[in-house]
């Protein structure tokens, strides 16, 4: 016989995960609109791969198959991999990344709830280190030639027509060329890659993620702490350095609306398993990710730094939690003193 409480709120891991997937839909819709349906192929690819790997690992580990395969956690990882990898990456690349995420980053560390690192970010980091070239070929905005995109994924690859540098890459190129060095803000809207604020097309994908993320906060799946701390820190540090030298550093809104910033703010940094959990800890964790992201973006060898920033902060998460335990009822200030 079980003990009190006897009535339970209808809640499940599955419903949490499914709502996270739903929240990704606006961003995915924008993605398809601006960059073609290749992303849907990738999502299908990673989903099938992730579920197969999950099933195999559950069988190996002797875990109840039905209970764990339907929890939706593998799908969230799969979708995040699809959305962080280039949508025209070859099929084996995303598949390999997904296998590494599910088998190594998740199950070899103990499965659901036990992984110290964000599995999708492990996949991204490993792949960008191993295949920097393939991980940098992004679809061109508007070039929604689906057949060519399919060729890019399943071969033979003819990329020239359908790829384009990402805004962060383009920015890097611009900054390295002394002749082009002008106020970066002036580039926006005048350059093929740049949109009004961020990257052309990408800024709308980011808006889609933002909408989904706000809905997640409304659903109490995530709290405001992480996204706000992440975006605010990124904005603040980018803003500060733009003030210092506008020819060297991209403006803050550009940072917020390019690369993986919005996806990271609401869907990656907020992974509860591998992140900090206390309110203060969440602020520190997300601010740390944002700071590292900006540093890697501005000075590092890789165009976007969210994956490495997240993994670095994942290591620090237990320590952050330990030092940010909130005070307990009745132990806050001088005893009994009203607030």
């Amino acid at each position: 016989m079980n003990n009190s409480p006897y009535s339970l709120k209808p809640a499940s891991v599955q419903s949490v995960m499914l709502r996270v997937l739903c929240a990704l839909l606006p961003g995915i819709a924008a993605y398809v609109w601006f960059f073609g349906a290749a992303i849907l192929v990738q999502i299908a690819l990673t989903s099938v791969t992730a579920l197969a790997a999950e099933a195999a690992m559950l069988a190996l580990r002797g875990k109840p198959m039905r209970q764990f395969l339907t929890d939706g956690s593998a799908l969230v990882t799969a979708w995040l991999i699809a959305l962080t990898f280039p949508s025209i990456a070859p099929w084996w690349l995303t598949m390999l990344g997904t296998l590494l995420a599910i088998i190594v980053a998740k199950h070899l560390y103990g499965g659901l709830g036990q992984n110290p690192f964000n599995p999708a970010m492990v996949a991204f980091a490993l792949m960008i280190v191993a295949y920097p070239q393939l991980m940098s070929q992004w679809p061109a905005v508007g070039a929604a030639d689906f057949a060519a995109q399919l060729n890019a994924i399943f071969g033979p690859r003819q990329l020239d027509a359908i790829t384009m540098a990402t805004p962060l890459d383009a920015l890097r190129t611009v900054l390295r060329d002394p002749e082009q060095r002008a106020a970066i803000a002036g580039l926006l809207g005048s350059h093929a890659t740049f949109g009004n604020i961020g990257g052309k097309g990408w800024e709308w994908v980011a808006v889609g993620y933002l909408a989904g993320g706000l809905w997640l906060i409304q659903q109490r799946i995530i709290t405001w702490h992480m996204p706000v701390a992440f975006l605010a820190t990124l904005f603040a540090v980018a803003g500060l350095f733009t003030l210092i030298d506008a020819t060297q550093f991209a403006p803050p809104l550009f940072h917020l609306l390019t690369g993986g910033a919005m996806l990271g703010a609401f869907f990656i940094v907020t992974d509860p398993v591998s992140g900090a959990t206390t309110p203060k800890g969440k602020l520190i964790f997300a601010a740390g990710v944002a700071l590292l992201t900006w540093i890697i973006r501005s000075f590092g060898a890789y165009p976007d730094g969210i994956a490495f920033a997240v993994l670095l902060m994942n290591i620090a998460a237990p320590l952050i939690d330990m030092y940010t335990q909130p005070p307990v009822f009745g132990h806050k200030r001088k005893e009994g003193e009203p607030r």
């Binding site: 079980n2 009535s7 109840p64 209970q67 909130p326 005070p327 307990v328 132990h331 009203p338």
Partner: protein, 556 residues
Amino acid sequence: MIARLFKFKGGVKPASHKDESAAAPIRVAPLPSHLIIPLRQSARAMARCLVQPGQTVLKGEMIAAAEGPLCTAVHAPTSGTVRAIAPQPVPHPSGLPAPSVILDPDGQDRWIERQPFDYRSVPAQETRTYLRDCGVVGLGGAGFPSHVKLGPGEKGIETLILNGAECEPWITCDDRLMRERADGILAGASIMRHIAGARRILVGIEDNKPQAIESMRAAVQRLGEADIEVVAVPTRYPAGGEKQLIRVLTGIEIPYGKLGTHFGVQCFNVGSAHAIYRAVAHGEPLVSRVLTLSGNMTHPGNFEVLIGTPIRELLPLAAPRADTDRYLMGGPMMGVALLSLDTPVIKGTNCILAGSPTLFPPPPPEMPCIRCGECAKVCPAELQPFELYWFSRARIFGKAQDYSLFDCIECGCCSYVCPSRIPLVDYFRFAKGEIWAREKEKAAADIARERYELRLAREEREKEEKAAKLAAKTEAGRQKAAAALAEAAKPAATPEEDAKKALIAAALERARAQKEQVHPENVSDLTPEQQAEVAAIEGRRAEIREMAKPHLRQDD
């Protein structure tokens, strides 16, 4: 007027299910076939039984007297005959039987002579003793003796809080009581204020009970005393938790291990206030209470029930449905599943809830914790339940205590919201139990070790004393020997020889002294006749010894 309400963090809003039982007025339950009255009513201490099997008692007659500071008296809930005094199962999670008086009612329900108690003309201490002897304990569930809570404590009580929040779903007994007997409740509160010397009275009622609030406010008007306020508090479980209600009404947070009196505030259930009123104004000890029968029942409602009524005999009043698979004492959030329906209603029984697989479906299989933090968001003690869960599960109890395990009030909010369906509260109960068991073991071991160390110390002391005595004796002997040597005056002797001789002499002296000391007591001071007899006996023994010699040799 209190300026504003404070908030407590966390809490949940489960479906209230109050309407089922709140509509109908309180009915008096019929006399049961027999009553089982546990002698341990105050949850802390056992009362001393005053009756014998076969003895007839009147309603309200004391059948067990209070013993010790946390004990309260127990009374016969109706007139009748004591059948037996025997261990009986009581509604407690342990399911262990407790000594109880079994009473067969005579159907007359005849009261003892009842006298109002003039609490205004006696010292407060006397009224508290009177309440103890009337068996008044908290009716909210914990059953803590009211007279103890009304004691002066460290700071005295400034604010008296009446708890009419009744935050658990389904339960409506306090709601009905406030609607129907508001004057009695406030009269009780007024008596308590007098005893405790409190300045103001705050009545906290969840705002989902507008009729109770209105009824109580009207009663405040009728009473016409100053500084009594009925406050509607936001409906959010566990707003009726003592610490939470105190926080909401006064802003004071009472930490684990501290009592309300440390902060000049004390909280009583409205039912307890009513019981105090009955005891003082009518001379009626606490022999009955109002409880809710609800849940999977066709006629849920509230009933005035005699303490000791077997729960089995109550159920027909509300007619449980056929698919009822269990009964809970208390609400669905903190209630206890009844192991037997033969357990009696005790003073803390506020609700009997019938459960069914549809009403309380078995939880789906437990999933791993994903650290979503929902439990921390709803914890009214502001703990991090998922951290406590890891530590409890891994049996890292020291860490669990570092993370304030014992501040957990087991309200069940964390288990209620957990998407992984982890029975968090069960883990915390387990961890607390283990820690208590270990501390008890450690205390026992400490006592044993202390005892052993004391023994060692005593033995050591005795040894030292013996040695000191011996040394003193030796010194005395040596001095004597030295004197003898000096007399002999042998200058040729080397100091070494002197020392040796002295030692030998001392040893001889010692032996002599010992011989002198050891003398048979029974043969001293004998008369000549006795001496002759002894000699004769000695002679006979010598003869026998001689006779026995050959045989002994043969045996060799």
